[in-house]
């Protein structure tokens, strides 16, 4: 047996079904060995997207997504995808081929110090020096990636290590990590304090972040909200944890959030952040928002607590465990007046949009699209104006809303949708992007075609890098610099070239029927919507 055989056996032992990647000489032993397994390989069209697809899959499966690329440029191309997953705490195991161990450090062809290069974007990384270490390292990598605060782990395997002969293979039952022991259970005393503070609060508010989903605490959160009648808002990464139309859910907070949600944050006398970082886009000027507010911060990462705002009650642990413990208590809190006030804000602070006739209004389009999508559909939002419209107007019921909030990497939606669709082939998957972000990942239409992954794609076309144009509109007096996307391809031809169905929507007329047609069958479909180039989020 070779090191490469051991690598694929590790993946089998971890129940890995798909590996996204791009081969090259330095990873060929691995891709040779994988032919002997049932693991399916997906040749993605550029390495960055291998990490995004693995991320989309990981977010559906709740297990690390796996990608494998070659040394040098293959590995460095992967970095943006790794950094994206790191910022959103998505578990990945990234395997890179490396040049022969004896040549490491001598700048041979396609050599890159990838463990050094990704150091600040991974939870941990390994450079495998001995093939006998492979089972232990893979076991640890999967464990580290998917425990505590989740994130990517990289394993760099020199080609000679992949080729080395080893005698036997035993996959460890348990990990033995002396130095890594994430806290899972919340401190009981702190939980008691939370109950006490909640009982004393008049205007409590829960702010749910991506950590709720990552710890699989969605049900616990809903029960907490419903049983104790506590209103809830979310960060961008927390969208979808609560159904959009849940009466106690007030939507996304932050720079681009709903005004009533931000007002709720300002007026609350108690804020319970659950798996949220108090990051700059969600809570602008935390010291002002948190003044005179009891801040309860639940996070699995102790370093996030107190980083951006000092918490009154810090509590480290897994959100699902902590919320479960909270639900054990009886609480007398009476917040109906506060809820009535929030309902009032929501109805009195309408969103002002003045869509221009003769174009598709992205807000209304996204709302109608999501209402027609299947109940458990997966909606993948890209980055840019389209992302903000998606966050605001997409209606989540029992489905998922995937996007990259931390890094904001353009081009995320299509490859992530591919990963999500492969993970959940029976569910409807729709990627919504702009014409800028679409062109960053449109090479993946080939991947969709090759492996028959019927993702539906919406392109909100305005011929601009809309988010930057909007920024230049406000901050640079409409001096538009390098935001014009003319020269973009005719998407009808692109769709035809990749054998996809195509639809162009120019205005709101007959939208309902068009959406029915777009969503009707489980088939790849490209839908271009012409939107007002001057529209603002």
């Amino acid at each position: 047996m070779t090191g490469a055989d051991a690598m694929v056996k590790c993946l089998e032992a971890e129940g890995v079904e798909y590996v996204f990647g791009y081969p090259g000489v330095a990873i060929c032993p691995f891709y040779n060995a994988i032919l002997n397994t049932k693991i399916q390989t997906i040749l993605i069209r550029t390495e960055q997207n291998a990490a995004h697809s693995a991320s989309g899959m990981a977010r559906l499966n709740g297990r690390p997504g796996v990608c494998a690329v070659t040394s040098g440029p293959g590995a460095t191309n992967l970095i943006t995808g790794i950094a994206t997953a790191f910022a959103d705490s998505i578990p990945l195991v990234c395997i890179t081929g490396q040049v022969n161990s004896e040549l490491i450090g001598s700048d041979v062809f396609q050599e890159a110090d990838i463990t050094g290069a990704v150091e600040s974007f991974v939870k941990y990384s390994y450079l495998v020096k001995d093939a006998k270490e492979i089972p232990r390292i893979f076991k640890e990598a999967f464990y580290i990636a998917n425990s505590g605060r989740k994130g990517p782990v990289l394993i760099d395997v020199p080609i000679d290590v992949q080729q080395a002969k080893i005698k036997d293979f035993t996959y460890p039952e348990e990990v033995k990590l002396r130095t890594y022991k994430p806290t899972v259970k919340g401190n009981a005393l702190q939980i008691k304090k939370i109950v006490h503070e909640l009982e004393g609060a008049k205007r409590p508010l829960i702010c749910a972040g991506g950590g709720v989903r990552l710890s699989n605490a969605k049900e616990q959160l809903r029960r907490l909200v419903e049983e104790f009648r506590i209103p809830v808002v979310s960060t961008m990464m927390g969208i979808g944890v609560m159904a959009t139309e849940h009466p106690l859910y007030y939507g996304m907070v932050g720079n681009n959030g709903f005004p009533w949600a931000n007002r709720a944050m300002k007026e609350a006398d108690l804020i319970m952040m659950v798996g949220a970082r108090v990051a700059d886009r969600a809570v602008n000027q935390p010291e002002r928002v948190m003044k005179d507010t009891v801040l309860i911060h639940i996070d699995v990462d102790p370093a996030e607590i107190g980083k951006n705002a000092g918490a009154t009650i810090p509590i480290v642990g897994d959100a699902a465990h902590i919320l479960e413990d909270l639900l054990e208590y009886e609480m007398d809190g009476e917040y109906e007046d506060w809820i009535a006030a929030l309902d009032c804000y929501r109805s009195e602070m309408p969103l002002v949009r003045e869509p221009v006739e003769g174009y598709v209004d992205p807000a209304e389009f996204i709302r109608q699209l999501s209402l027609k999508m299947q109940d458990n559909a997966i909606y993948v939002a890209d980055v840019g104006q389209n992302q903000i419209w998606s966050c605001k107007y997409h209606v989540v019921r029992n489905g998922r809303f995937l996007t990259t909030g931390g890094m904001g990497t353009m081009g995320y939606s299509i490859p992530a949708a591919v990963g999500a669709k492969l993970a959940r082939p029976k569910r409807q998957v729709v990627a919504v992007c702009g014409d800028g972000s679409f062109q960053m990942s449109m090479m993946e239409l080939a991947t969709m075609r090759q492996y028959d992954v019927p993702v539906k794609i919406v392109v909100l076309k305005n011929n601009y890098l809309g988010m930057v144009r909007q920024y230049q509109h406000f901050s640079y007096d409409d001096r538009y610099s390098v935001v014009d996307l003319s020269g973009s391809p005719d998407l009808e031809h692109i769709a035809e070239a990749y054998g996809m169905k195509f639809m162009r929507i120019r205005d709101m007329e007959g939208l309902s029927d068009k959406l029915d047609e777009f969503l009707k069958n489980d088939e790849a479909y490209l839908c271009e919507c012409i939107i007002d180039p001057m529209d603002l989020v």
């Binding site: 463990t115 050094g116 150091e119 600040s120 939870k123 941990y124 450079l127 580290i144 605060r149 990590l177 002396r178 130095t179 890594y180 990462d301 102790p302 370093a303 107190g306 980083k307």
Partner: protein, 167 residues
């Protein structure tokens, strides 16, 4: 700006030091000194870092370092509950006229003379940083040719917070 002395117990493996120093550089934390050496248990290295920053930064440093997979334990060595030492080697230019007086100063500080040449001398001094600063202050009349300091290392007093490594 405050200073804190952190003592880390980390996995004795390749790349550990770069992971720790990399964390400091990418998050913009200030390292004043860092020393490292293997412990009685060869699986571990003990690292002493002197860092400066405001209280929030120092708190973040402690948490972010603790989060690194290779870090087994981190503790703050407070001046009251710890002993600090630093080794300093000083090569001083000397002549027939001032050699004796320099030796006299060195003796007062219990510093050793570890090399004597016709025109220079190397003095070895161990102590807490303030002792070293005081000694260097007395050398203002001399020409220091070269100076090497190890940076601070230290241990907490007593045995209450010892991390037992029997697992």
């Amino acid at each position: 700006m405050n200073k804190k002395v952190f003592q880390l117990l980390v996995e004795n493996s390749s790349g550990v030091l770069s992971r720790i120093s990399g964390l400091f550089s990418r998050r913009g934390y200030n390292i004043e000194s860092i020393t490292a050496g293997v412990t009685a248990d060869e699986r571990y290295t003990r690292i002493t870092i002197v860092a400066s920053g405001d209280d929030e930064i120092l708190d973040q440093i402690e948490k972010q370092v603790a989060k690194l997979v290779d870090v087994r334990n981190i503790k703050v060595l407070t001046p009251h509950d710890s002993v600090y030492r630093e080794l300093c080697l000083i090569k001083v230019e000397v002549s027939e006229q001032n050699r004796e007086s320099l030796i006299a100063i060195a003796n007062i500080f219990r510093a050793g003379i570890i090399d004597v040449a016709a025109e220079s001398m190397i003095i070895e001094l161990t102590g807490n940083p303030s002792k070293i600063e005081a000694f260097l202050g007395l050398l203002t009349g001399y020409t220091i040719l070269e100076l090497a300091r190890t940076g601070l290392t230290g241990l907490s007093r007593g045995s209450e917070d010892v991390v037992w490594l029997d697992d």
